[in-house]
């Protein structure tokens, strides 16, 4: 068990564009850290640098207190689960799991005990004599995890380990990996492009885009206090509504985008007065919009008329995909509703939950916490 520290880590491939640009993070001992971001943002590259599979172009990487930049993967005391599992096709499940121990000259008994224990933990004891070819995707995934556990490493690295599983198995395995984490009490670093996985599994999440860290925080903080427009749009499903407009003055400050006009609270006025007549992006999550007139119990001063284009009843909730002028808004209603396509609905916004971003930089504008 160990913490992992990255200081000013950069990765340049041949083309001299930074695949990872100044990555700084301290991953605490026993933490479950998730790297999330769209495909190509440098998550795998970061993970592979931690594993030692990719050279670090500049910067420092510590595992525990030890600088490991120039230490080979096998001597870093890490284990990795690959997206395609990377099981050795010519070995049985047992041999796959035992291989790393054999190379490290563990005794036969020790190897046996460890493999059997891990197999029992992962419920694959019955498969030990099979070759990977004869396993289902879910079973292979478990073997890949088993191969990592038997070594009892200081740090586990996962690179999209669930993306080849079907939806149901993915949800199930997600929970199992979380359980495994609390059971093994080891530092885990987990890469995914799926924000749901990130939200549900991570103690903390690193959101990346184009090689740059966008924000590092706990899932709930990312959700409630996104630092910028990208994080706001990336975390949460359906995504936060983001509408570009302007701050205007007219008996107080308003946010105006086409026909949509929202009066700001006093606190927001203070915060946003310096942005008068500037381009601003307004953000609100679908669940912070309520049908006007219903008993929603929020202080909600802004109302807007919306045209419903699509209704998606999910049983316990209903999504409305609506438009107002040129902008579209997703609304999540907690109850069933009789609203139909092409209806006009009036909604109110929970102004305590709205976000503002500078349109040009994308940075969030909010009071210093």
């Amino acid at each position: 068990m160990a913490k992992v520290t990255l200081k000013n880590v950069h990765k340049y491939y041949d083309d001299n564009v930074a695949a990872v640009d100044n990555f700084n993070a301290e991953i605490a001992d026993r933490e479950f850290l998730v790297l999330v971001g769209p495909s190509g943002c440098g998550k795998s590259t970061t993970l592979r640098m931690i594993a030692g599979l990719e050279e670090i172009s500049s910067g420092e990487l510590y595992i525990g207190e030890k600088l490991v930049n120039d230490i080979r993967p096998k001597d870093r005391d890490i284990a990795m689960v690959f997206q395609n599992y990377a099981l050795y096709p010519h070995m049985t499940v047992f041999e796959n799991m035992a291989f790393g121990l054999k190379l490290r000259k563990f005794s036969k008994d020790e190897i046996n005990t460890r493999v059997q224990d891990a197999a029992a933990l992962l419920d694959i004891s019955a498969l030990l004599n099979r070759k990977p070819k004869a396993l289902s995707g879910g079973q292979r995934q478990r073997v890949a995890v088993g191969r990592a556990i038997v070594r009892n490493p200081q740090v586990f690295l996962f690179d999209e380990p669930l993306s080849n599983l079907d939806a149901k198995l993915r949800v199930q395995t997600r929970a199992e990996i979380s359980k495994l984490h609390s059971r093994l009490q080891t530092t885990m670093i987990y890469v995914t492009h799926d924000q749901v996985e990130a939200m549900t599994m991570g103690d903390r999440i690193v959101v990346m885009k184009d090689g740059l860290i966008q924000q590092v925080d706990t899932p709930m903080n990312l959700y409630d206090y996104p630092d910028n427009q990208f994080v706001a749009g990336f975390i949460g499903n359906p995504a936060m509504n983001l509408i570009a407009g302007k701050i205007v003055r007219d008996n107080g400050l308003f946010f105006q985008a086409g026909t949509l006009r929202i009066q700001l609270t006093q606190n927001q006025e203070k915060l946003l007065s310096k942005y008068l007549d500037k381009e601003m992006t307004f953000g609100i999550r679908p669940e912070d919009i309520y049908e006007a007139g219903t008993n929603h119990g929020v202080e909600a001063r802004a109302e807007a008329p919306l045209t419903v284009e699509v209704v998606e009843p999910m049983g316990n909730e209903t999504f409305l995909y609506t438009t107002t002028g040129a902008d579209s808004l997703t609304v999540r209603l907690r109850t069933g509703s009789s609203i139909k396509v092409n209806d006009q609905v009036a909604v109110v916004f929970d102004l305590s939950k709205i976000h503002f971003f500078e349109t040009d930089t994308g940075n969030a504008v909010r009071a210093a916490a």
Binding site: L53, P89, F99, G100
Partner: protein, 268 residues
């Protein structure tokens, strides 16, 4: 009806192709005076021609020489070329592709061009008339390197990385991960090398003088062309049959892999 036509055509070609071999085989089994025309049924069968071969030349010794040389060369090619193929396909270092193109280029050079320099080298090393001259120059082959490189490129990167994390060094990766997953290619390169080495005549003729160091094709050629066979066709053909036999046996044995990997390496 169409099938019938196809099959008859196939049978026809097969017979056309195989007939000379059958004729040769039958010729070795009959007396000299009967070897004429196209018939293949001997009126009487005798092993006289074979007995003559064993009597006149040390063919058994040549057989063992050939086996020894071909085996050593084959093992060396498979080991070294797979290592080089691995480096050229899976390791990253400056000049890697340049090296590969040079290797490719050497395949275009006809053997006749390097024959004399190579011979001079052998003389300088004092290897003429020794196994070293038969073996060492052939321990690495461009074709072997190319075949291994091409195949290794198809092995998933993850597999090698998993092995690296598990604790393999590069040599262990080659022999414990790559090899077990490249069996058809190993066999193809093995067979190709074995056959080429086995059939080689020109080079042994140049570097070997001592009859006891001669390989089988060399000995048989000298026997057939030189005066020893006394122009007896049956005896010459018997020697040639003995020469072809091990190759045919080896081919029959590995045929499945051979065809499989010929198809997968794209070498048709």
């Amino acid at each position: 009806m169409k099938k019938l036509q196809q099959y008859s055509l196939l049978v026809f070609w097969t017979v056309l192709f195989i007939y000379p071999f059958l004729w040769m085989l039958s010729a070795t089994l009959r007396p000299e005076r009967e070897i004429k025309g196209f018939g293949i049924w001997p009126s009487e069968v005798s092993l006289y021609n074979y007995a003559q071969v064993f009597e006149k030349i040390p063919i058994l010794r040549a057989f063992l020489n050939s086996i020894f040389v071909a085996l050593v060369v084959t093992v060396a090619v498979v080991v070294f070329c797979s290592m080089i193929g691995y480096a050229l396909s899976r390791l990253h270092f400056r000049g890697r592709d340049a090296i590969f193109y040079i290797v490719l280029f050497t395949m275009m050079i006809p053997f006749q061009i390097i024959l004399i320099p190579l011979y001079i080298l052998m003389v300088k090393f004092g290897w003429v008339n020794s196994y070293l001259a038969l073996i060492v120059p052939w321990m690495v082959s461009a074709l072997g390197i190319v075949l291994f490189r091409q195949y290794f490129q198809s092995i998933p990167k993850d597999l090698l990385e998993a092995a690296r994390i598990d604790g393999c060094n590069e040599v262990q990766i080659i022999f414990r991960i790559i090899w077990p997953n490249s069996i058809p290619t190993l066999i193809t390169v093995g067979i190709l090398t074995f056959m080429t080495t086995w059939n080689e005549v020109l080079w042994p003729l140049i570097v070997i003088r001592d009859t006891h160091l001669m390989t089988m094709p060399q000995l048989v050629t000298i026997f057939a062309v030189g005066g020893q066979a006394e122009n007896q066709l049956g005896v010459q053909l018997a020697a040639a049959t003995l020469l072809a036999l091990p190759v045919i046996v080896a081919y029959a044995f590995f045929q499945k892999y051979f065809i499989e990997s010929m198809a997968t390496t794209g070498l048709k």
